[in-house]
Amino acid sequence: MAADDESLPVAQIERVFREAYGRAVAVLVRSFGSIDVAEEAVQDAFATALQRWPSAGLPPSPAGWIVTTARNRAIDRMRRESSREDRHAAATLLNESDEPQENAVSDDRLRLIFTCCHPALATAAQVALTLRLLGGLTTVEIARAFLVPEATMAQRLVRAKGKIRDAGIPYRVPDETQLAQRVQSVLAVVYLIFNEGYSASSGDRLIRDDLCDEAIRLGRLLFELMPSDPEVAGLLALMLLIDSRRAARLDAEGHMVLLSGQDRSLWNRKRIAEGQTLVRRCLMRNKPGPYQIQAAINAVHSDAATASAVDWNQILQLYERLLEIEPTAIVALNRAVAVAEVRGVAEALACVSQLDLGGYYMFHATRADFLRRLGRHAEAAAAYREAIALCENGEERLFLQQRLGALS
């Protein structure tokens, strides 16, 4: 019998691999030119670790060990399975240094992000690939988080990897002319992962929280890899500030609590401080973008000790800035909420009445709230009913129904 007390639990080995997964896959994709080979090699290394680590203990550099072991396993496989030509290629790979330079690893991970978020892939595939290859989540975990059957998610990943291989989607950081646009699509994928975790009330709450954590982890990685892009910092700040309110946004029964009604003592001060530092750094750069401005708006909310102390003037100014950069109806709708606080509800109602957002539940919910506050209860009730009919989120629907009930 082995000394069980001292042996490494499987869960801890899994955690080490999940942490190191993106790094290892990124390095191995460069060596072998194939995502499948890289993933298989890391899987082989995991099997080896399960045999050795419980008795030998964690190696001094687990991440380095994983890359070295995975590379050796992949070369073994190539030798066993393939032709002379491939054996030649394997011999060349053996000469590569085992422990890549940290700079090179960063570059590899950046390449892999741009491959995963390539615009030639469907958004759902971009999200799944990013979580699988960079986040190290298993197919089962991703399927559960997005409420799709495991087989569907597995097929989505296989198809996406097949397209990368067959269509020749490059493993490369885009050149200057493309970079800004491609970074936007990477940020959109990470923010989508975050929102999926934050907004959806269906499914397993714990898994949903995992998605928020994973999105923030990816946001930190992007910030580490592209520290000079202010929108990258802006997205990280935005996620940190929104996430700081996680504990306060549901009450004891698990029902949604609006920002104005939240117990601010439950807000995560560490996340707020980190987010606000990033926002300040962005402001000094003075190259505003949509994520930075949204982060700044959230920072103003975080600044206020009570709901009545919120500096709505500043929020309105920020929304006006956002509307200049992103003149969409959704931004105009959000701006109207600030207009209501600064210039009055009547003016806010006038702002939203021309918006072409009839299919969006938040449009009706916002209008309903304005009408309610103006005492126009019959119109408010009609707007709440429209919002309820369009809302797909159970918790939010419940909230709207309560508001509707309180009118009469």
Binding site: H118, A120, G168, I169, P170, P174
Partner: protein, 121 residues
Amino acid sequence: MKQYLLSIIQPDGDVPGGSPPPPEVLGKIMQNVRAVSAEMKAAGAWVFSAGLHHPSTATVVRHQEGGALITDGPFVESKEHIGGFTVIQAVDLDAALEWAKKLAKALPLPIEVRPLHENHG
């Protein structure tokens, strides 16, 4: 180098022969397309290209016991069909998409980019 099929997706129009744009517009388009082709050739990307007659001129042949079955018309009923195509070679999808963007702008019609199998004559 990989090879890619760039298919031009063209609306059929109501009458056989389609409803092409007026001659002065068409002339300008053809000039643009020739310029893109010339650029592809100069860059060593161009492999082959062709324009196709209207889909109403197509015939479908199916193998059957006792002889082939021949039917009139394109294989898929649709409002758009491939009106022409270009095969190019490029280092990767990004390079192929750059050529597709130029062609889509010249026509202006949607371009479907599809990789060819490698090492299959």
